[in-house]
C-alpha cells in the first residue's frame, strides 16, 4: 500500500478556513499507516515549479466521532460490549513548518498539493546544505544522519558557522546520562578534525575534563556496534580515536602523584604535570580573590606585588633583599614586613598600604597555594601547555576533575586567557582552538555574582568567532546558564531533555509534539539548530570513536597512590621501561623532596633519550642534607593576627 522511500506521495496538503496553509506552516493528511512522523522532512511540489520543503512538527489523529458520549451510547454503556463491526474513518493530520521555498521569492502560502518524503538531495536542499556541501570549497562538518521512512541522509554543519567567522560556538543540552552530550561533542570533534578542509586552516581542541574519567581515554579506541559503523560510513568519517592527545593534570597534595584517573602505568607516561608558579597565579588574581571582598586597596597592593616585587630584586626597609619567585619567598617577605612594622612600633602603614590590607592579601594568596597545592608550586618550577606551539588536529586535555572549584576556575581562566592572547597575536600555533567546557552551568550560572570566569566566557561567546576561539559547552539545563552565553552559540544541540526544563520560557518556540519527542529522545539522537536550518532537525550520531570514561576505567584501572620514592620511579619508568628502581631510589635517598620534584618535572618535560642520566643530572650533586619535615605546608596562616576575611 505505502512504499517507503520511492518518492510516491505520502500525503496531501489540506487547508480550511480554520486551518489554512500559510507560507511558514501548513497541514497535510496521510493514511493511518504512514512513515511520516515528528521530525520527518517532506516536500510539496506545485505544478508551476515551486517546491516547498518542511519539517513535521505536530501530528493529530481523530475520527468522525463528535462526542465520546456517542461511543457510550453505541456500546450501551458497556465497554466490554460487542465490538463495533466498522471502525470509524480516521484521519492523520500533520502540521509542518516550512524549511525552504524554492524559488525563495515570492514567499507564498504552501500549495495544496501532494506531499512526499524528502530524499537525500531534498534534505540537502531543505536544510540549505547544498551551499556548503556541494560548493567549490566545501566546508561541511557531518553531525549525524537524518532518518525517515527507510531513508538515511547525512546532515552537516557549516564550518564557517561552527568555527567562525560567520558565527561560532556549540552548546549542547540534556539530562545526565541519556542526552549523550559528552559523547556528541567527542564525535563532533572527531568529525571536525577529519573533515575540516585544509583551506579552512588549522584547529586544535583544549578540553577541560571536569567529571571523573570522562575525557581520560580520547586516544584509546572504543567499542562500536555495527549500527555505529554504518553511521560512520554514511557520514564519511573513520571511526578511529584521536591520534594526537596531550594530557595535563596537576599533582596531588603530595606533589608527586598526578591528580588524574588516567594513572594506569600504561598511560601515565603521556600525562604531563600541570604546575604553575606564583607569577602564573598572580596575573590571574582576580579569579582567586572573590570580587565581593577585594576592594580597590587590595587591588592596588596586588598590583604593587605583581609589578614591583615578583621576580625582581626588592629591598625592604629593614635591610633585607628579596627575590620573590615562589609562595615561600612571598611568605618570607610578608614576615619581614609584619616583623618590621611590629618593631617599628605603632605604624599601621607600609608603603601606603594598610597592614590590614596586606594581611588580607597575604591570607588570600597563601590560601590559594594551600587549596591549589599540586597545581601551584612553591619553588618556581612551571609545567604548562605549549602555548605558541599548539599542533594542528591535536587535543589538549586538562584534567581538573580532581581539583576544587577555585583551582578549576584558575586553570580555566588562565588557559583561556592565554589562548586568547596568543590568538590575538596570531602565534598560538593553530588558527582555531575549540575550548570544550562540560558543566557550563558551574562556570557561568544564570544567577549569582558576575565572576571573572563568567565575564570571560561572555567575552569569548561574543568576540571569539573573530579570533578563532570557539566555545563548545555542555550543560544539563540551558535555563541555568547565563543567557547571553548560550544565546551566542550559533549551533545548539539538544539530547534527551527534562520535561520541567522544556516548560521554561526558553522553549516556547517548540511545538508540543517536538517537546515530547525531545523528552523521550533515545540515546544517540539529537535535535540540532544551526544558522542554515530554518527549523531544528533531528539526527542520529554514532558512539564516539574513543573509549568512554567508565569503560576506560575498567580497561585501565587507575594505579593506587605510591609513596614518594615509588611514585618517582613509576613516573620515570613510564618514560622509559628500562629505568632501574633500585638505582633511582638510591639516588634520591635523603634528598630534598622539592629538588627531586624539580628534577622529575624537568625530565618529564624534556622527555630525553637517556631518562635516568637526565634525571640524575637535573638532581645535581647531593650537597645539603638539611632535614626537612615532609609534607610541611608553607602556607601557615598567622593565627595570631585577626583577619576578618580569613577563610
Amino acid at each position: 500500500m505505502i512504499r517507503l522511500g520511492d518518492g510516491g506521495p505520502v500525503g496531501r496538503v489540506v487547508a480550511t478556513e480554520a486551518l489554512p496553509a500559510g507560507p511558514h506552516q501548513f497541514h497535510f493528511w496521510t493514511a493511518t499507516a504512514t512513515p511520516v512522523g515528528i521530525g520527518a522532512i517532506v516536500r510539496v511540489d506545485e505544478e508551476a515549479g515551486r517546491t516547498v520543503y518542511a519539517v513535521v512538527v505536530d501530528g493529530r489523529a481523530y475520527s468522525d466521532l463528535a462526542t465520546p458520549l456517542h461511543e457510550v451510547v453505541a456500546a450501551e454503556g458497556d465497554p466490554a460490549g460487542t465490538r463495533a463491526p466498522t471502525r470509524r474513518t480516521e484521519v492523520r493530520l500533520w502540521t509542518a513548518a516550512v524549511l525552504r521555498h524554492v524559488p525563495e521569492e515570492p514567499v507564498q502560502p504552501v500549495p495544496l498539493a501532494e506531499v512526499r518524503l524528502a530524499t537525500d538531495e531534498d534534505v540537502e536542499a531543505a536544510l540549505r546544505m547544498d551551499a556548503y556541501v556541494r560548493s567549490e570549497q566545501p566546508s561541511a562538518i557531518p553531525v549525524g544522519v537524518y532518518r525517515a521512512g527507510g531513508l538515511t541522509a547525512p546532515v552537516s554543519l557549516d564550518a564557517e558557522f561552527l568555527l567562525g567567522p560567520e558565527s561560532a560556538h556549540l552548546n549542547i543540552n540534556g539530562v545526565s546520562g541519556l542526552a549523550t552530550k559528552t559523547s556528541a561533542v567527542e564525535f563532533i570533534l572527531a568529525s571536525i578534525f577529519q573533515r575540516l578542509p585544509m583551506q579552512k586552516g588549522t584547529v586544535a581542541a583544549v578540553c577541560f575534563n571536569v567529571k571523573g574519567p570522562d575525557l581520560c581515554f580520547l586516544d584509546q579506541p572504543g567499542e562500536l556496534a555495527d549500527a555505529d559503523r554504518e553511521l560512520y560510513a554514511a557520514l564519511g568519517i573513520e571511526p578511529r580515536p584521536f591520534d594526537r592527545v596531550h594530557y595535563y593534570a596537576p599533582f596531588k597534595v603530595d606533589g608527586v602523584n598526578l591528580n588524574t584517573l588516567r594513572s594506569h602505568p600504561d598511560l601515565l607516561g603521556s600525562v604531563q604535570p600541570l604546575v604553575w608558579g606564583l607569577r602564573e597565579v598572580l596575573n590571574f588574581h582576580e579569579v582567586l580573590l572573590n570580587r565581593d571582598d577585594i576592594d580597590a586597596k587590595a587591588d592596588a597592593f596586588l598590583d604593587f606585588l605583581a609589578d614591583r616585587v615578583v621576580e625582581r630584586e626588592f629591598r625592604d626597609e629593614w635591610g633585607n633583599t628579596h627575590r620573590v619567585r615562589s609562595f615561600a619567598d612571598l611568605e618570607r617577605l610578608f614576615r619581614c614586613i609584619f616583623d618590621g612594622l611590629e618593631q617599628a612600633g605603632r605604624s599601621d602603614v607600609w608603603r601606603t598600604h594598610h597592614v590590614a590590607t596586606i594581611r588580607k592579601v597575604r591570607n588570600r594568596l597563601l590560601n590559594i597555594s594551600t587549596r591549589c597545592k599540586g597545581l601551584v608550586t612553591d619553588d618556581g618550577t612551571v609545567s604548562d601547555l605549549p602555548f605558541g606551539q599548539l599542533e594542528d588536529r591535536a587535543v589538549y586535555v586538562l584534567d581538573v576533575a580532581g581539583m576544587d572549584q577555585l583551582g578549576q576556575d584558575l586553570v580555566f581562566t588562565r588557559v583561556v586567557s592565554m589562548l586568547r592572547e596568543h590568538l590575538e597575536r596570531g602565534d598560538l600555533g593553530v588558527e582555531h582552538v575549540i575550548v570544550f567546557v562540560d558543566e557550563l552551568n558551574k562556570y557561568a550560572p544564570s544567577d549569582g555574582p558576575e565572576t571573572y570566569v563568567k565575564k570571560m566566557l561572555l567575552d569569548i561567546s561574543e568576540r571569539g568567532r573573530y579570533l578563532g576561539l570557539v566555545l563548545f559547552a555542555a550543560q544539563q539545563f540551558r535555563s541555568q546558564v547565563h543567557r547571553r552565553i548560550v544565546g551566542n552559540a550559533g549551533t545548539v544541540v539538544f539530547g534527551r531533555m527534562d520535561m520541567d526544563e522544556l516548560a521554561t520560557p526558553g522553549y516556547q518556540v517548540l511545538s508540543p509534539a517536538t517537546k515530547i519527542k525531545l523528552a523521550t529522545l533515545p540515546k544517540g539522537e539529537l535535535m540540532v539548530r544551526h544558522p542554515h536550518f530554518t527549523q531544528p532537525v533531528f539526527v542520529r550520531f554514532p558512539r564516539p570513536p574513543v573509549l568512554s570514561g567508565p569503560v576506560g576505567l575498567k580497561q585501565f584501572p587507575p594505579a593506587a597512590d605510591l609513596p614518594f620514592e615509588e611514585a618517582v620511579v613509576r613516573q620515570l619508568a613510564a618514560l622509559d621501561r628500562r629505568v632501574s628502581s633500585a638505582r633511582i631510589k638510591d639516588s634520591i635517598a635523603g634528598r630534598r623532596e622539592d629538588d627531586v620534584r624539580r628534577a622529575l618535572l624537568a625530565t618529564k618535560r624534556t622527555r630525553p633519550e637517556d631518562v635516568v642520566g637526565f634525571f640524575m643530572a637535573s638532581l645535581g650533586p647531593a650537597v645539603s642534607r638539611e632535614p626537612i619535615g615532609r609534607g610541611e605546608s608553607v602556607a601557615r596562616p598567622l593565627r595570631s593576627v585577626e583577619d576578618p576575611y580569613a577563610t
Binding site: T67, H70, E71, V73, A74, T82, A84, T86, R87, R88
Partner: protein, 305 residues
C-alpha cells in the same frame, strides 16, 4: 398517558404540519404466521464478514428557463463500500451529471443549443399545462429515476464480481427487484415509513415494537406483479421519543430463506448500531456504513455540496 396504557413521547414542539405523503398506503400479505407478531430477536450478533453497502445520492438545480420551461442540471452518484477487517473500502462507484428539459416544449433549435453546453441532455416529462413548480418537480422525479438506474447498475456490477457476499442497500428494493434474482443476499434497509403496508392491530404491533424485536415477515407488492418479503425491526427503544424512533424495515427476496433467517439477520443488524452515525440526525435508523457511503459520495461530488 401511562395510566391509560399509553407511552410517553419526546414532546418536541413543531410549527407546521408534516409534509404531505405521496403514497401513504400499500398492500401486504402474511408470510410468517397469520398475523403480525412482535418477536424478540435476542442479542446483537457478529455480522457476516462478506458484507458491502450501497447508497446513491442525487442533486439538481434549476439552471434557467427557456420561456417558462425549466432547464434543470442534475447530478446522481452511487457507490458500494465493502467492509474488510472493520474498514470500509470503495469497490464500485459511478456518477453522472446531465441536463434535463422537456423536449416537447422546446424547438429543435433550442434543443440544439442545450446540447451544446457539454453535458448530456435528457428529456423529461412536463405537466399538462405549464406550471412553474410542477414542471420542476417532474424534472426532479426524473433525476431520482436516474439515480435508481445508477444504483441498479452499480448493484449489478458488484454482484457480478462478488456473487456470494451480502449487500445492504439504503432504502427500498423497489427499483432493484431485478438484482434480487442475482443474489438472495441483497437487503434493503428502509428508514422512512411514509408508506404503511399494515393496518389495524398489525400496524400497532409493528409501530410499537419494543427494542431488539422484529415483526413476523410479511410480503408487500412491488410494481404490478412482483413482491418482496419484509419485516420491521426496532434498533433503539422508542419510549420517550415517538413511534418511528429506531424503527427500520428490512426487505429481502421472497424466499423461504428470508423467513428462516429473519431473526439471524435482525441480530447482526443490531450490531450495526455501533458505531453511532451520530453526525446525521437520523442516527437512530441510519447505520454507520451507509452513512459512510453517503459521506464518500458527497466528498466525490465536490461542487454539488
Amino acid at each position: 398517558m401511562l395510566r391509560v396504557g399509553g407511552t410517553v413521547s419526546a414532546g418536541v414542539p413543531l410549527s407546521h404540519a408534516a409534509p404531505s405523503v405521496t403514497s401513504p398506503f400499500g398492500s401486504a400479505s402474511y408470510v410468517e404466521g397469520d398475523r403480525i407478531r412482535a418477536l424478540e430477536v435476542g442479542d446483537a450478533a457478529v455480522p457476516p464478514t462478506e458484507l458491502a453497502f450501497l447508497d446513491g445520492i442525487q442533486r439538481y438545480a434549476v439552471e434557467g428557463r427557456i420561456g417558462l420551461v425549466p432547464v434543470v442540471r442534475g447530478y446522481v452518484a452511487a457507490a458500494v463500500l465493502r467492509r474488510v477487517r472493520e474498514t470500509l473500502q470503495a469497490v464500485e462507484s459511478r456518477s453522472e451529471e446531465f441536463v434535463l428539459a422537456p423536449f416537447e416544449r422546446l424547438t429543435s433549435q433550442q434543443r440544439a443549443e442545450l446540447e451544446g453546453v457539454g453535458l448530456p441532455l435528457y428529456d423529461c416529462p412536463a405537466a399538462e399545462r405549464s406550471h412553474p413548480i410542477l414542471d420542476v418537480r417532474l424534472a426532479a422525479k426524473e433525476v431520482e429515476t436516474k439515480r435508481e438506474v445508477l444504483e441498479l447498475e452499480i448493484a449489478r456490477r458488484y454482484l457480478e464480481a462478488e456473487p456470494a457476499g451480502w449487500l445492504v442497500v439504503d432504502g427500498a428494493l423497489t427499483a432493484l427487484s431485478e438484482v434480487l434474482e442475482m443474489s438472495p443476499k441483497v437487503l434493503g434497509l428502509i428508514k422512512s415509513h411514509e408508506t404503511q403496508f399494515l393496518d389495524g392491530r398489525d400496524l400497532e404491533v409493528a409501530l410499537t415494537l419494543p427494542a431488539a424485536h422484529r415483526t413476523s415477515v410479511f410480503a408487500r407488492a412491488v410494481g404490478e406483479h412482483g413482491r418482496v418479503y419484509t419485516w420491521y425491526l426496532r434498533l433503539w427503544p422508542w419510549e420517550e421519543h415517538d413511534l418511528l424512533y429506531g424503527l427500520v424495515r428490512v426487505e429481502r427476496a421472497p424466499t423461504d430463506a428470508t423467513v428462516d433467517e429473519a431473526t439471524a439477520v435482525s441480530r447482526w443488524l443490531l450490531a450495526e448500531r455501533a458505531p453511532l452515525a451520530a453526525r446525521d440526525g437520523r442516527w437512530d435508523r441510519l447505520i454507520y456504513p451507509i452513512q459512510q457511503v453517503e459521506t464518500y459520495l458527497r466528498a466525490q461530488a465536490g461542487g454539488w455540496w
